[in-house]
Subunit: 329 residues, 4 copies
Amino acid sequence: MNTFGTNFRITTFGESHGAALGVVIDGCPPGMTLSESDIQPALDRRKPGTSPLVSPRQESDRVEILSGVFDGKTTGTPIALLVRNHDAHSHDYEKMKNLFRPGHADFTFQQKYGIRDYRGGGRSSGRETIGRVAAGAVAEKYLTSLGITIKGHVVSVHGKTGAQEIESEILAAKNAGDSVGGIAEITAKGCPAGLGDPVFGKLDAAIAGAMMGIGAVKGVEIGAGFAVAGRFGSENNDPITKSGFLSNNAGGILGGISSGQEIVVRIAVKPTASIAKPQKTIDAGGNDASITVKGRHDPCIVPRIIPVAEAMLALVLIDAVLEQRKYRE
Amino acid sequence: MNTFGTNFRITTFGESHGAALGVVIDGCPPGMTLSESDIQPALDRRKPGTSPLVSPRQESDRVEILSGVFDGKTTGTPIALLVRNHDAHSHDYEKMKNLFRPGHADFTFQQKYGIRDYRGGGRSSGRETIGRVAAGAVAEKYLTSLGITIKGHVVSVHGKTGAQEIESEILAAKNAGDSVGGIAEITAKGCPAGLGDPVFGKLDAAIAGAMMGIGAVKGVEIGAGFAVAGRFGSENNDPITKSGFLSNNAGGILGGISSGQEIVVRIAVKPTASIAKPQKTIDAGGNDASITVKGRHDPCIVPRIIPVAEAMLALVLIDAVLEQRKYRE
Amino acid sequence: MNTFGTNFRITTFGESHGAALGVVIDGCPPGMTLSESDIQPALDRRKPGTSPLVSPRQESDRVEILSGVFDGKTTGTPIALLVRNHDAHSHDYEKMKNLFRPGHADFTFQQKYGIRDYRGGGRSSGRETIGRVAAGAVAEKYLTSLGITIKGHVVSVHGKTGAQEIESEILAAKNAGDSVGGIAEITAKGCPAGLGDPVFGKLDAAIAGAMMGIGAVKGVEIGAGFAVAGRFGSENNDPITKSGFLSNNAGGILGGISSGQEIVVRIAVKPTASIAKPQKTIDAGGNDASITVKGRHDPCIVPRIIPVAEAMLALVLIDAVLEQRKYRE
Amino acid sequence: MNTFGTNFRITTFGESHGAALGVVIDGCPPGMTLSESDIQPALDRRKPGTSPLVSPRQESDRVEILSGVFDGKTTGTPIALLVRNHDAHSHDYEKMKNLFRPGHADFTFQQKYGIRDYRGGGRSSGRETIGRVAAGAVAEKYLTSLGITIKGHVVSVHGKTGAQEIESEILAAKNAGDSVGGIAEITAKGCPAGLGDPVFGKLDAAIAGAMMGIGAVKGVEIGAGFAVAGRFGSENNDPITKSGFLSNNAGGILGGISSGQEIVVRIAVKPTASIAKPQKTIDAGGNDASITVKGRHDPCIVPRIIPVAEAMLALVLIDAVLEQRKYRE
């Protein structure tokens, strides 16, 4: 449903054009200093309108802490974070309320619930990630205090690597009224060995579920990932020496448990579904139709997915860190 | 931990060389005919010793239903399935009890628990999947009654496709005392639209977690998967017409919810970690050592992972099918 | 933690004197008409200041729906409900921040978390129930549409029954700077047979946990309750006839599953812990001290616990109703 | 469903007259010595046939550890415990398969599942508690190593206290073909302060749910319990001094969190539903009928419920102990 995690558990809510979005964090360790200024920078990183490569929408997205913090410290009780919605152009969507946008969740929401908030994608909007990013910032602050650091970057866009190549690919797509996909990598340094559970609760399984749970992600790989399919075991096994592992094809996870090496995750991100080119679709009555998705959309979502993916990795790791503590007598 | 699923919930137990392995299934709908003969064929498919391409170990693996079935029908109470262990060559492992096999979970289990059953990999052995496959057979029987069918096949091994190419790659690796990785695809036909939850409980997120939770899997992709990273949105969006979708790049899932199209999943499987070639490692005391993993290992685990991956997909789907029923008034 | 329920799942947050209190409801069936006016009356019933028998505090407690409702109908996505705090007399508590009030959670919160929001009891305040009551109102609306109705009443206060007796007991306690306990009964009519799970998820187990999870409740009984301890089986068994059961000692639940009879629950409510009489306690440094709890406290919490207990019963029942649907093919 | 606990999680299975009963324990801390001889005595305490006061059935109930223990120590992986069924007189039940025994779960199982294993009550039999008691023995062993001890005793039977009075009440009921109810008390000494969560996860809420989840329990109270309803706050609050609390009306739990005092729980146990006297009931076709329940039943279940209630308290406490560890940095 809308809850993620077991020990550090977040529950998000809110639609793109509703009154507000937010998250309740349950299980944050008590005694950590926390204020809005720890969270706001993460929201600022994810918001659009900051470069010609992303959507020109202006989303102010100011976070307010509603509970769980007293005298500047977390108390162990739920931390509710609220972001009010502004700058919603709901009328852009009015015309499309009876059309299912290809590549979007419009059709499947209607099938599942028999009703949907069509304004800005409603709950399936990218704005849903505000709650994740805000909670992730809290998790990251705690992880940092343990020496664990998380970083993401764009690996490639439309098959191209290098900042300039990528920029021109995105702008070309934008100018063509189209969009492009790409690959992002997220890593975590400083994780202790021993995190994760060996069967269904494998750390890599949790990461894969977390990443594929981000809209637009269609593939996840750990360490060498799909490249392992073309290898010999003698190439792929990471030799162990008394100075440590000699390679990291495993991406920091063996048998579902962290090895102490860097954790390395890559995700495949599809081209933004909203494009200005006409596409075939049907209307609510089941009739053939054509749709051109107007609005202020990102020509490539890869750069903006980075803070979300970092947040999800932070959430998985803090959960595993707290879980592992039950083994301490 | 060792439980998977919410509505159709399985809990597995057992080590490679312990007394027994098994699974408890909770939430199986009542009134379905069920006997050992519905489950045994799936176990027979996963067992080794059936061809020169796989391990020559002989594992009889007879399943016994301990509970939850009365007069040949499920009653809605937990179904416990038991498989006794036989043919365990524990002495093969005695020599390695103080060595951490590269690519295996030996090192990380030790880090996590401070103790491990080193015989045959203990709980991290491939034999742990017996419980999954047995439970998956029960799930598949139920899904079949709803018109949902699941199938898996080997896509490639060591970069090669085609039965003969694949066979010779595997035999070559075996003869060299090495192993090879590959890619498998699993599909589900007949799924109704509307399965899955739109945020953290996305159907593709559940599938990704389930697949990455199988030992040796290092990557998961849905539909077009990593290929989306090189595409335009205008290529990748699946057009909708009154006769249905015109393509299936989404792999049957939009916004985390099934669309009614075929669900398509691919997994990257690493080369078997156990190889006969000498490898660098350390012993329990932290000293450098060399290890040659003797035993009767699969030179390529891809063919044997198919029934496991099918089982995991069945478990995800039956869970989603039961979940979706709560929307019916 | 702060989440209750499986299918209709609520997560509450907020402290007595923090910025706000609220709840996120996840799993509410889509398509139900819902507005603030469906929830506000329940909050008005629980609030103090409405009679000389209860606290004179004025809590306006206006609820705002933040998400999950579109065009006046639930959409199946999370419904976040917010109540801003006002009228907080935090300075009343400043003097007591280093004292542990007897009968309160001050001491144990400090032991558990090493930190606590001492203003108005923080998270252990009765105001925490605002989220429960708001969510319960949504659940009750849905249950009513299925013909299930929930009602609570005061059975006795300080051993006395009858409205006038009870009123004079409460006023006498108030005038003495003391407080009194009592018993409340909550019933549900119209429940179908078949709700609840037979082992750990027994419907009465869920109800007992829900009721004992309300602050001040020290006992729970179902049907004949503690009276069964003095009976013969021949008296206590409810005979079954083709016109129905001839008695209801079971309180509507047999073997953990609803029988279709009225569900009958009683709870023992302790006297309000906050009293104006001096009491022995210790301070944060562990020194003996005396405390007199000033403030605007209820001399008897039984009347005000009724809407909370009704809400908890509604939450248990809606969860069971949705759970039972997975048995429908 | 059939799983209890979060950190120390048990899943039970099995019917009275099926092949076997058992339990899978997940989350048991690694490194604890464990063998069948740690568990068997608890099963021997719960079994019938040991005195004229209880059922004369002979149930050998030998437990076998199937997994999770290596070289005499727990490994952190699931511990599966198996008890094969013997001495089942299924033919006793054949005649009653179309009758719903009053006070039993026959009617409600049929309503819920549309099918039931009528032999010996199937899953609703008291034999279902074998899994709980076996798992409880493992939990108790661990708790004992932390200095936490759990004890239960019979408080009263049919309103009478004192061993001789109780014995004669039970024998009188037995001779009359009837049964009697009673009250049991279970306590835990040595619990540290800080266990339990303050809102829905209150320690007393967990205990109440655990106890009411035992068949035949119709009431639960903590500390002073229902007696609080007749008290003043000034009587009921437990004064705190630097030498500790001066009384224990709270039963060791304040605001849902353990205070470090003894935890005190009492349960009301109904008279055994199976009695030899004729009772009114209906058959599967809905026709009026009379039933006389033959078999070897306990005239009073209170003595035999003690080991079960101790087990449930142990399971709640170990779960809370492990949960609390996540607060340790």
